[in-house]
């Protein structure tokens, strides 16, 4: 029988454990997220949801267990290859945008491409397209201090998506915004991730963000308490 091999999940965590000095944040978390799927990670403060996201992003290395991106075991790769995989396959949106203060929006968004060795003109052209996609093309030459919170977060979304990642990870993406700006940002994030066909994983305590997901994974004390399809 011929047939297509099933594509590996965009992101897969198996038995991931992580401890800070005195505090165990993750006690063995396993999950699989498909391309194009939107997942909300919820739970009370301190339940391990941000640690989970940081392990998935490669910001933290799990003490046990594996993280696979598009089927590749991240820890098994040589350092250089691992860094490249993180840069190109994973986009990250944090609560406060975390843009470089001295760079224009255009350069902030182009930055991941420049770090990946793209020509400046080409990187800026792609970045401009993403600024347009998230609705802030007119602010391309502004620096972050000149922007509102909502505009900063839109730029962070553009920067996360500019390399064409297969997984977008967002940590409280609407956390610093009022409800209207938060809803607009969420719409931009969902639309952009769908446009790319990327898996979108959002850590959130905001029920209105969780409601936009296909699946909710709820953590408690470093383990999955329940998972529901929405």
């Amino acid at each position: 029988m011929t047939g297509l091999m099933a594509a590996p999940p965009a992101l897969e965590l198996s038995g991931v454990k992580y401890s800070y000095r005195r505090n165990t944040a993750l006690r063995g978390v396993s999950l699989r997220i498909k391309s194009g799927e939107v997942v909300a990670i919820t739970g009370a403060s301190g339940c391990g949801k941000s640690t989970l996201l940081h392990c998935a992003a490669g910001i933290l290395s799990p003490h046990y267990g594996t993280v696979r991106l598009a089927g590749q075991d991240v820890a098994a790769l040589p350092e250089e290859e691992r860094a490249r995989l993180r840069r190109t396959k994973v986009g990250i949106v944090l609560q406060f945008g975390q843009l470089v203060p001295d760079l224009s929006l255009l350069d902030n968004v182009a930055l991941p491409l420049l770090l990946d060795g793209h020509e400046r003109a080409e990187a800026q052209e792609t970045a401009r397209g993403w600024l347009e996609q998230v609705g802030i093309a007119d602010e391309a030459e502004a620096v972050p201090a000149e922007l509102s919170g909502g505009q900063t977060q839109r730029a962070a979304v553009a920067r996360a998506l500019v390399t064409g990642p297969s997984v977008v990870l967002a940590d409280e993406p609407t956390g610093s915004l009022d409800s209207r700006a938060g809803q607009e940002l969420l719409d931009v994030l969902l639309k952009s991730a769908r446009y790319r066909g990327a898996a979108l994983v959002m850590v959130t305590h905001d029920n209105l963000v969780a409601a936009s997901a296909d699946r909710e994974i709820r953590l408690r004390d470093g383990v999955i308490q329940h998972e529901v399809v929405l």
């Binding site: 009370a44 809803q183 029920n207 409601a211 936009s212 909710e216 408690r220 308490q225 529901v228 929405l230």
Partner: protein, 173 residues
């Protein structure tokens, strides 16, 4: 529920059939449970008995659907009073989610699983509402925001109930 006063409000623009009153209500409150015809006619009958509305036209031999009702001056005063009175805050209304949760805990049911399913159901309802834009009129967006804000408040309570039950389970396994 103040259906009687809402019916007075719906008649304040001018005389109307029961059918128009029902349609008007459902337009005022999209995303909410539609008003049943039976309830409209029962309410109009009661308001007529109390002198708050009057019949101004009736097709001979026609049923209630052929009758046109209008607000009386007494009805207009009653509506005006109702609109200016604040609503007393609810205290401890036992809605069905709370009833089920208490019953589940008291009878040894799986309360945590119930809460997880209830959360999912509320989240789905919020998503449905957000996927269809509210009508572009002066009140539909307010109705929508009210419903979403209440679902959100319920969800926050469901969250803390889930934490509470999980804590208790750990303390008394």
């Amino acid at each position: 529920m103040a259906t009687a006063e809402l019916v007075l409000g719906l008649l304040s623009a001018g005389p109307a059939h029961g059918y128009d009153v029902k349609r008007g209500h459902d337009t005022w409150f999209p995303d909410s449970r539609p008003l049943a015809f039976g309830q409209v006619y029962t309410t109009l009958g009661r308001l007529e008995r109390d002198g708050l509305v009057e019949v101004v036209d009736k097709t001979a031999g026609g049923g209630p659907d052929r009758t046109v009702y209008a607000l009386t001056s007494k009805g207009r005063d009653h509506l005006s009073d109702w609109l200016s009175d604040p609503v007393p805050p609810a205290w401890g209304s036992a809605d069905e989610v709370l009833r089920k949760l208490v019953a589940a805990i008291r009878t040894g049911g799986d309360a945590a699983a119930f809460l997880a399913r209830q959360r999912a159901s509320h989240l789905r309802r919020i998503r449905e509402l957000r996927e269809t834009p509210a009508e572009d009129d002066p009140t539909s967006p307010l109705v929508r925001e009210y419903i979403v804000a209440h679902l959100d408040a319920d969800l926050r309570w469901l969250d803390s109930a889930l934490e509470h039950i999980s804590d208790q389970r750990e303390a008394h396994p």
